[in-house]
Symmetry: C2
Subunit: 150 residues, 2 copies
DNA sequence: TGACCCATGTCAGTATTCTGACATACCTTT
DNA sequence: AAAGGTATGTCAGAATACTGACATGGGTCA
């Protein structure tokens, strides 16, 4: 006889998805007026902190496939937010950089996203936030380790 | 002069997205062999716990639009996993219920998802998990409250 | 009763992401 | 040097979710 289902009222997995969904919605809400999607913003923010990231690296950082990021990068390049060299300096990877326009566009978005993150954390103490960081990091590590062989 | 960007290495928002992404990937991995997507599974799990949920209620519970859930429900109904009355008993909402086939299909998926959730939490004590629940709940509530007027 | 508002189900079109596939470049090993 | 393995960029097609729109049912209030 099969076990009962997963109790969604107490499941941390479900709650994690709920929190992520709420964050996504809040971010979309503030980024929409700026004509920016979350992936779009993530890409610019990654490039601001680590100039020269390749398409594949940006994809991993934004949690999408490199194919999806490639589509986005081509649009961003066409519209003058980022630049890539015509030929790869080494290997196949094309290092991407923000243009002045890209940096300007990112400034407003960063402010908007910062306000959302502040709101998200307003009920948590500094100690709480440290604990939350530790636990989420542990979850990510466990999930990436793959199924336990035993 | 604009402020600097958001430090992704220490941002709880980014980490939340990372954890959610890792969970999504792990769930997709175990559900794929069963021919099931996450939304598909979520729908069945919701119906197992709260029989008679309407399309819109299922959509909210699975964090998708009611249009997306409607497409899924039509497929599930066509394939015999759920049933809906031909006419709404009251209002326009059609209460949905699992069939025996739907319940059987859910059993395997629940076991698979349970193993993923266990793995995710294996580094956290019971107290940790309670704290994580409290913090995530706080984040969801704060995000849904909308921007602080002040 | 009638006007209004809100929630629901549904259709259609659009957008975004994903999977599959291929060629290329680097690295390691033999 | 040659072969195998891994990573990358890119194209094409499929799957999935979303936005917009419309009609209907139920409730509230004047």
């Amino acid at each position: 006889m099969g076990q009962d289902g997963i109790d969604l009222e107490t499941s941390l997995g479900y709650l994690l998805k709920e929190a992520s969904s709420a964050l996504r919605l809040a971010m979309e809400e503030v980024l929409r007026p700026l004509g920016m999607t979350i992936t779009h913003y993530s890409c610019l923010e990654l490039l601001a902190q680590r100039p020269g990231l390749s398409n594949s690296e940006l994809a991993r950082g934004a949690f999408v496939t490199r194919q999806s990021m490639n589509v986005l990068l081509q649009a961003l390049e066409r519209d003058g937010y980022v630049t890539r060299p015509a030929a790869p300096p080494v290997g196949k990877a094309l290092p991407t950089r923000l243009t002045a326009r890209g940096r300007r566009s990112l400034e407003k978005a960063t402010a908007a996203v910062r306000s959302v993150e502040s709101r998200m954390l307003e009920g948590l103490s500094a100690g709480d936030q440290q604990e939350a960081f530790r636990m989420l990091t542990s979850m990510v590590r466990s999930l990436r380790e793959g199924p336990t062989p035993g």
